[in-house]
Every structure is written in C-alpha cells, then in structure tokens.
C-alpha cells in the first residue's frame, strides 16, 4: 500500500548555490502528484531529495523534514536504507547493460542479499506484469540483455526493477521525456494502475501529461513551490499569476 509524503521546509544546495527554498507540501497516499515548472526550477532536485539521491552528487546537501509514511527521511536512518523503500525511475532508461532482463528486475533484491530462487521468479514475473512488459519479454528473460530492448521497453523494465523491491512510493523523474508517444501512452496507462499500490510523484515537462495522470500538481519556479493544489484547479483556475503565466505558455 502507498503511504503519504509530508515535506516540511525542505532546502537543498549544490555547493553554495541554493536550489530549493523552504518547500512544504503533502502528497497523499495512493495518488499521483505531478511536479511541473520550467527547466532548472528544482523539480528533479526536489524528487531526488525525497529518497536522498540528491546527496550522491558531490558537494550537494539538503536540510528539512521529509516523512514518508512513518519513515523519517532526514533523521537517523541511513540513505541506503531509505532508498530501499522508495522506487525511482529516471529520465533516461538506465537498465544494467551487462545483465539479463531477469537479473535487471531482480537486481535490487539480489544485490541486497535476497537469493530465494522461487520467490525471485515470482517477484520478477509479478513486477514485469505490473509494468506491462511481461508479454513482450517472457520468452527471453534470461537470454537477452536489458540494453537490447527498445527505449520504451527499457523504461518499463526500469519501472519493473523499481517495483520489485516492493516500495511504498514511486518517484518518477520525467520518465517519458526520452520516449515516443506510444511508449509514453503505455507508461501513463501504467501510472494509473500503479496508483492502486503506490504513491507516485512524477516530474514532467509536459503539462498535458500532468493533467492526464495526476490528481495533485505542484508548480515550481526558481527553487520555490509557487502553488500546490488539485490538478484540475491548477490547470483551470490557478491562484497565482505566475502559475497561470506558465500553464498558458507565456514563459518556460
């Protein structure tokens, strides 16, 4: 089951440059929340702070309070431990190139010391079915490399890989920006189904996509959260002038 994400006064820096200023918002459980805004506004930095991927960049740091379910992200628990509970899908599909399709999906479990063969088979199949890739790859699971798939298939493989570790939250950083419209459609459909099981935060450049898949939308500008509301409200009657300017295409 998905859990809610509570963010309170989150700040983030790259060296001396501040990238996020006092972000406070709440993404409800089992819903998709879209993060929109022009390039460089801190969208990616924001989601990367939710699972502490931000700090893998040299000199990057973050402070503030993030709660995912009952888990306090910036207090005590190690970053590695946190990330095991949060799935992440990146902008460009990044399957492990030397691994088979099967091993790609099982990677998160295997690398963390889970080796029960029968259970792994089960989880791999379930994850690939969830990511709507099973039918296309079930005959070449152990024969083909993850890198041999098409771009759209690779991205669904990456989603399956993220789902296999049974996260409570799925973070998607522009998951469709490198894909063609058909693959994009498949992944959007997927997001709809995945909401039943996970809480989803999706960064997107595509406002139509945000309005299609997300119940809630946050608009970022220059590292600040300008407006956060129901998606319908943001796209029809935004409260802030800047949000309106952005969604009507006046800048960005």
């Amino acid at each position: 089951m998905g859990v809610s994400i509570k963010v309170d006064k989150l700040n983030a820096w790259y060296g001396k440059t501040q990238a996020l200023y006092d972000i406070t918002m709440e993404a409800p459980a089992n819903r998709a929340t879209a993060i929109i805004g022009p390039s460089g506004c801190g969208k990616s930095t924001f989601v990367r702070c939710l699972n502490r991927m931000h700090e893998t960049v040299p000199d990057a740091r973050a402070s503030g309070h993030v709660e995912i379910g009952s888990m306090n992200v910036y207090n005590g628990t190690s970053a590695v431990q946190i990330r095991r509970h949060i799935g992440m899908v990146f902008q460009k599909p990044n399957p492990f190139p030397t691994m088979t399709i099967y091993d790609n999906v099982a990677a998160g479990l295997k690398l963390n010391g889970f080796h029960n063969r029968a259970r792994l088979d089960e989880i791999v199949e379930r994850s690939l079915k969830m990511s709507a890739l099973w039918d296309e790859v079930k005959d070449s699971l152990r024969k083909k490399s993850g890198a041999s798939l098409s771009g759209g298939q690779q991205q669904r493989l990456c989603i399956a890989r993220a789902l296999a570790v049974e996260p409570t939250v799925l973070l998607m950083d522009e998951p469709c920006s490198a894909l063609d419209p058909i693959s994009t459609g498949k992944i959007e459909e997927l997001i709809f189904q995945l909401k039943e099981h996970f809480t989803i935060v999706i960064v997107t450049h595509n406002m139509q996509q945000a309005s299609r898949v997300a119940e809630f939308t946050g608009f970022f500008l220059l590292g600040r959260l300008i407006e956060f509301d129901k998606t319908a409200k943001i796209f029809t009657t935004p409260s802030d002038k800047r949000t309106e300017d952005y969604i009507t295409g006046r800048f960005g």
Binding site: M53, V80, H85, A107, N112, A147, S148, C158
Partner: protein
Amino acid sequence: MPETDIAVLHHSAETISIWRRGVNGLATLAAAASVVLVLAPLIAVFGYLIYKGIGSVNWAFLTQTPKPPGETGGGMANAIAGSAAILFIGSLAGVPLGIGAGVYLAEYGQNRMGNVIRFTADVLNGVPSIIIGIVAYSLVVLTQGHFSAFAGGVALAIMMIPTIARTTEEMLLLVPNAVREAAYGLGVSRWRTTLSITLRTATSGVITGVMLAFARVAGETAPLLFTAFGNQFWNWKLNQPTAALPLQIFSYAISPYDDWHRQAWAGALILIVLIVASVSAVRLVAGRGMLKGTS
C-alpha cells in the same frame, strides 16, 4: 530567399559535391594506407619469426632442457614453465592491486590523493624496465639472499600495476553515471554498486587492460636479468633461480653457437604464440559470459 539565389545554390552544390567526393576518397585512401603501414611491421615480424624459428620447433625443443654449450639439440621446456610461473606470480599480485587502484581512482579518487596516485602511476609507467628489475633485486633478491621466480614475479607485478590501474580507471569512467544512480536508487550501497554494477559493466574493457599489461611484461627480459636470473635445469622451487623464455632467448642470441641462434628464434616464436594464445583464451572465456545486445 529569391529563386535566383536558390539556383546558384543548387549549381554550387553540384560542384561542391564533386569536390567533396574527391576529398572523401582521398581521406579513405589515406586511412587505409595507414592501416597497412601499421599492420606491415606486425606481419613482417611475425612472418620472419615463423620463417626463422619454425624449423627448430620440435618435440624435443618443447620437452627438454638446454644442452651444455657445444652440444646440439635440447630445448626450452624449463624456460617455458619458468615463464609461466613468473607470469602467474606477477599476475597474482599485479592484477588485483592494479584493478583495486583503478577502482579507487575512478570511484573515490577525484581529489588530491587521486591526482598524486595518477601522476605516480604515469611516471612508473615510463620507468625503464631495467630499473624496475634493480628495485625488485634490492627488495627481494638482496633480502632473501638468492635469485628466484618470486623476485621475477614481483618485478613484473610492479610493471603491470600502473598500466592496469590507469586502464581500469578509464574503463570505469566510461560507465555512465546513470547506471550507478540506478543502483543507488535501489538502495544498493556504494561499495556493492562499485563491485557488482560498475566493475561488472566495465568488465570487457578492464580485461583488455589486464591482457595488454600481461602481454607487455610477458616479453620483458631486463627486469628478470637479476631477479629470476635464469636456469639451465628444471627447477620446481619458486625461491630458486628460474629460467624464463626471454632470458633464454637473450642468452642464446648472444651466444657464439649457430644451433643456439636457431633455438633463440624458435624460443621467440613460442613466446609470441603463447602470448597470443593466452590473450585469446582469456578473451574467449570472458566473452562467453557476455550477453547478446551488450555493447
């Protein structure tokens, strides 16, 4: 743009195209000529070795030890075995240390310490091999009191480490950061990511570096002169003076006997064949683990 301009453009495009095709042909020709120029010495060396050496390669040569000076016949079996032993010891020490250093440089070495190591490795790469031999001599031979296969192995390991370290580093840096991030995102720790993901992704490149270093030291004579020293007889002890192919070739080549000259050629041929064989064997075995569609 007015129509007339476009017409001019079309016309000039045609002339340009002829010019371009000419330049393209010339460039291809130059590249092909370079390939021939580069390959010619290699083929010449190999061909000449076969021409001079094949006549003396026979069963006795591969199974017997050298005969005393003046007698004909005998072989280099002990030198082949000795070379194998010395190379094994050298690789046993040099490969893991070199790969380890390369991993440090690529994954953790973006700092002063890394730069110092990088510089040191590059300098070490340029040190003449005879000096490496002297170092191994004073480190191992002088402290142990005798020449040995072990001392030869140490000398070769010292030569392998910088090459392997630098190529490993380069191969690891070629692994896209997105691959590392994918692992971090799954909650895989950093050392585990380095070991199971990054290094594994770069495997074929790392192996190339290792084999390059191996092939280079396999033919080294100078560092073995006063470490392994050479031996005319079978020796099964790693702490005793040990024969090695390059040493045997060297001493036979400068000898006054025609038969020994012929055997030196045969030894050189065997050395090259063994190097090519072991490099190919490693590639074949490593290649079997690779998947289809892996670039």
